[in-house]
C-alpha cells in the first residue's frame, strides 16, 4: 500500500511561485497524471516528491510518513526524466543495473534481474549495446528499465515521451500503461499533452499558474470541467468560448454580450446567471448542430475554412458581421464549402457556463448533469 499525499505544498523561487498550495492524494497503484501548459508548476510538483526540489512550505507524505526533508536516495522513488538521462559512458546492461549496483547487489543477481527487466521491456537483444547505438524508443525502454528494476514504491515520469515521434509515442504510451497495470506501482506522470494524459491516467491533476485547477478522472475533467481553463485545455480542438448574455429576462436565448451578431437557444441556462450581466458560454466543436437553412434557435454564420478529416470535417466559422472565429465539427457529408452560410444550434445540455471575471464554472444546480460520452456532432 503506497499512498502519496501532498499537504498544502508551496514552492517559491524568490518572488516567483513555482507551485502553490498543492493539496493532492494519489492512491495505491493509481496512475496520476499532472497535466498543464508549460510553466504551470507540474514538473516542480513532481520534483518536490522526488526530493530534487525542496518545497518552501507544506509536507509530502508517503503512507503517512513525512518524507519532505529526506534525500532522494532515501525515498524509494524512481524517476524517468524527459531527457532520459542515461549514463553515456555505460552500456545498456550497466545503465539498467546501476540502481542495483548502488544498492550493493552482487554481479550475478544484478545480471539476472537486468535480463528479466529487459525481457519484460522487449529489449533483451540490446543488453550488450552502448546507449549511443540505440534508437529513441529503445533509449526510452532502457530509461524505464532502470527505473523499474528495483521495484520502487513510487514511479515518477517527467514528460518521458516528449522526444518521440507521433507513432512511437502512441506505442510507448500503451506499453507504459500496460506495464504500470502489471507492476501496480503508484505512478505520477507529467505531461502537457492532454491526449496522452487522457489515455494514460486514472486520475488527472490539471494545473495552471502553479495551482491545481481540478482533480478527477479523465471523463470528469472532460465532461465536467471545474473552470474555463480546464474546459479550454482539455479537448482538441479546444472548447469555444463566447461572451454572451440572456436575450431578455428569463429567456433561454442568448445573444452576443455586445448586443449584436448572433443569438442561440440554450435549453438549460443555470438560474444563477442573471438577466443582464454577461457570462461566458463554452461549447465544444462537436456539440454544435450545423444547418444549411435557417431554423429557430440557431445563429447565422459563414464558413471561412473547411478541413476534411475523414469521417468528419472541421469547420472554422465566423458569426455574421462579427470578427470572431469558432471551430465546429460536422459530419463529412454536410456539404459546405468556404463562403457558405450555415446556421449553428447548440445541444443544450452540452453547453457550459463560466463567470466572465473569474472563469469559474456556473453550474446548473437545479438540473441533473448528463455525462453521456459524446458521439460526435449531431446535424
Amino acid at each position: 500500500m503506497v499512498r502519496v499525499r501532498y499537504d498544502d505544498v508551496t514552492k517559491r523561487y524568490g518572488n516567483e511561485i513555482g507551485a502553490k498550495n498543492i493539496d493532492i492524494t494519489v492512491d495505491d497503484g493509481e496512475f496520476a497524471v499532472l497535466l498543464g501548459p508549460s510553466g504551470c508548476g507540474k514538473t516542480t510538483t513532481l520534483r518536490c516528491l522526488a526530493g530534487l526540489t525542496d518545497p518552501t512550505e507544506g509536507e509530502i507524505r508517503i503512507d503517512g510518513t513525512d518524507i519532505t526533508d529526506r534525500h532522494p536516495k532515501n525515498r524509494d522513488i524512481a524517476m524517468v526524466f524527459q531527457e532520459l538521462a542515461l549514463y553515456p559512458h555505460m552500456g545498456v546492461a550497466a545503465n539498467i543495473g546501476y540502481p542495483l549496483k548502488v544498492e550493493g547487489v552482487d554481479k550475478a543477481t544484478r545480471r539476472e534481474r537486468v535480463e528479466a527487466v529487459t525481457e519484460t521491456l522487449d529489449i533483451g537483444e540490446l543488453l550488450d549495446r552502448e546507449t549511443d547505438e540505440l534508437s529513441g524508443g529503445q533509449r526510452q525502454r532502457v530509461a524505464i528499465g532502470r527505473a523499474i528494476i528495483r521495484r520502487p514504491s513510487v514511479f515518477l515520469m517527467d514528460e518521458p515521451l516528449a522526444s518521440l515521434d507521433a507513432k512511437l509515442k502512441v506505442e510507448m504510451r500503451n506499453e507504459i500503461k500496460k506495464l504500470q497495470r502489471e507492476l501496480g506501482i503508484t505512478t505520477l506522470y507529467v505531461t502537457h499533452d492532454q491526449e496522452e494524459a487522457m489515455t494514460l491516467g486514472d486520475k488527472l491533476i490539471v494545473m495552471n499558474d502553479g495551482t491545481v485547477q481540478q482533480v478527477g478522472t479523465p471523463a470528469e475533467v472532460y465532461h465536467d470541467p471545474a473552470n474555463q481553463f480546464v474546459a479550454g485545455f482539455i479537448g482538441s480542438p479546444s472548447m469555444n468560448f463566447l461572451r454572451v448574455r440572456r436575450e431578455a429576462a428569463g429567456s433561454q436565448r442568448v445573444v452576443a454580450a455586445n448586443d449584436a451578431t448572433f443569438s442561440f437557444s440554450v435549453e438549460r441556462l443555470p438560474t444563477a446567471v442573471g438577466d443582464t450581466e454577461p457570462f461566458v458560454l463554452g461549447v465544444r466543436p462537436q456539440y454544435f448542430s450545423v444547418h444549411q437553412s435557417p431554423i429557430d434557435g440557431a445563429a447565422k454564420a459563414e464558413v471561412t475554412v473547411t478541413e476534411p478529416m475523414g469521417d468528419e470535417q472541421l469547420l472554422t466559422v465566423q458569426f455574421d458581421g462579427d470578427g470572431r472565429e469558432i471551430a465546429v465539427r460536422a459530419p463529412f457529408d454536410v456539404g459546405v464549402t468556404r463562403g457558405d452560410t450555415i446556421w449553428l444550434g447548440i445541444s443544450g445540455e452540452r453547453a457550459y457556463v463560466f463567470d466572465v471575471e473569474t472563469g469559474a464554472r456556473i453550474r446548473q444546480t437545479e438540473l441533473s448533469t448528463d455525462t453521456a460520452v459524446p458521439t460526435g456532432s449531431r446535424p
Binding site: L52, H71, P72, K73, A78, A85, L86, V102, R146
Partner: protein, 300 residues
C-alpha cells in the same frame, strides 16, 4: 574560324576547371600542409641532419650516430632527464591536483565566481619570463617569501641558491602560472555534466562520492587526460623560468633538459649534440602522450 578558337578557349577553361575540381582536396589542404612543413617537418628534419654532425672550431664533421651514443652513455643527459622528471612530477601533481580541486569549488555555487575566474586567469596570460622575474623578486634575500616563512626559519631561506631546494623553488612559479589552465579546462568539463544525469544518479540511490566516481569523473576523464598530457609536455620543455631564476644551478641541481640543450648549443656551440637531445626529448614526449592515451583509452 573564330568559332573554332572560341571553342578552343572554352575547352581550355573547362579542362582547367576540371583539374581544379579533381585536385581540390589537395589545394585546400596545401596551406595547412605548408605550415606543418615549415614549423614541424623542416625543423625536425634539420635537427635530424644536424644530429649526425659534430661541431667544433674546425667546422662540422659527419659523425653518424656518434652523438646519440655519446649522449646516451654519458651521465649528464640522464641526470638532466632525472631533474626534468622530478620537476615534471611535482609541478604536474600540484597543478592538476590543485586545478581540479579549484574547478570543483568553482563549479559549486560560489559567490563572485565570474570575478574569481577572471582574476585566476591573469597568470596564464603573462609570459613565463615575466613570471620568473616576478618570482625572482619574491625569492629575494629578505623578500616577501622570507618574511612570510620568517616565524618558521632562522633567517632568510636560500631559495634559489641551495641545491636541495632550488628545484622546488622553480616548481612554485610554474604551479602558480599553470594551475588556472587546468582549472579552466576541468571546469569546462564539469559544466558539461548535465544536471539531469546527476539527478538520475541521485534517484538511483547514489550518494555524493558515488556520483563523483560513477558520473562526474567519466564525463571529465578525457579532459583530465588532455590536461595531463599538456602539462607533462609543458613541464618537459620548461626553460624560461629556469633560465631567469637559476640558469640550471646551483651546481647543476636545476639543469633540466632544455637548459642542458641550450648550454650545449649556445655555450659550447655543439649544435649536433643539442639537436640530438632535442630529438630524444621529442621521442620521449611522443611516448608519454601515447602511453597516456592508451592507458586511459581516450581517443584524440
Amino acid at each position: 574560324m573564330s568559332l573554332q578558337s572560341d571553342t578552343a578557349v572554352g575547352g581550355r577553361y573547362e579542362s582547367a576547371l576540371l583539374w581544379v575540381e579533381d585536385h581540390l582536396r589537395w589545394i585546400l589542404t596545401l596551406p595547412a600542409l605548408a605550415v606543418l612543413a615549415a614549423f614541424f617537418v623542416y625543423p625536425v628534419g634539420r635537427a635530424l641532419v644536424l644530429s649526425l654532425y659534430q661541431f667544433d672550431a674546425a667546422g662540422r664533421q659527419f659523425v653518424g650516430f656518434e652523438n646519440y651514443v655519446a649522449i646516451l652513455t654519458a651521465g649528464a643527459f640522464w641526470q638532466s632527464l632525472w631533474i626534468t622528471a622530478k620537476f615534471m612530477f611535482f609541478a604536474v601533481s600540484f597543478e592538476v591536483g590543485l586545478g581540479i580541486a579549484i574547478a570543483f569549488v568553482l563549479n559549486s555555487k560560489v559567490r563572485f565566481r565570474g570575478l574569481i575566474q577572471t582574476i585566476g586567469l591573469v597568470p596564464l596570460v603573462i609570459s613565463p619570463t615575466v613570471v620568473a622575474l616576478l618570482w625572482q623578486l619574491l625569492y629575494q634575500n629578505g623578500g616577501v617569501l622570507d618574511s612570510l616563512v620568517a616565524p618558521l626559519t632562522n633567517g632568510p631561506v636560500p631559495w634559489l641558491s641551495d641545491p636541495s631546494i632550488a628545484l622546488y623553488a622553480l616548481v612554485l612559479p610554474d604551479v602558480w602560472q599553470m594551475t588556472p589552465l587546468v582549472t579552466l579546462i576541468v571546469l569546462a568539463g564539469l559544466q558539461s555534466v548535465p544536471d539531469h544525469v546527476q539527478e538520475a544518479a541521485m534517484m538511483d540511490g547514489a550518494g555524493r562520492m558515488r556520483r563523483l566516481v560513477d558520473v562526474t569523473l567519466p564525463y571529465i576523464k578525457e579532459l583530465v587526460v588532455l590536461v595531463l598530457i599538456l602539462r607533462v609536455i609543458g613541464t618537459m620543455r620548461v626553460f624560461a623560468k629556469v633560465f631567469v631564476l637559476t640558469r640550471g644551478g646551483p651546481a647543476k641541481s636545476t639543469e633540466v633538459i632544455s637548459m642542458a640543450m641550450y648550454r650545449e648549443a649556445f655555450s659550447y656551440g655543439n649544435y649536433g649534440r643539442a639537436s640530438t637531445m632535442a630529438l630524444l626529448l621529442l621521442l620521449i614526449a611522443l611516448a608519454i602522450t601515447y602511453a597516456f592515451a592508451t592507458v586511459s583509452e581516450v581517443e584524440f
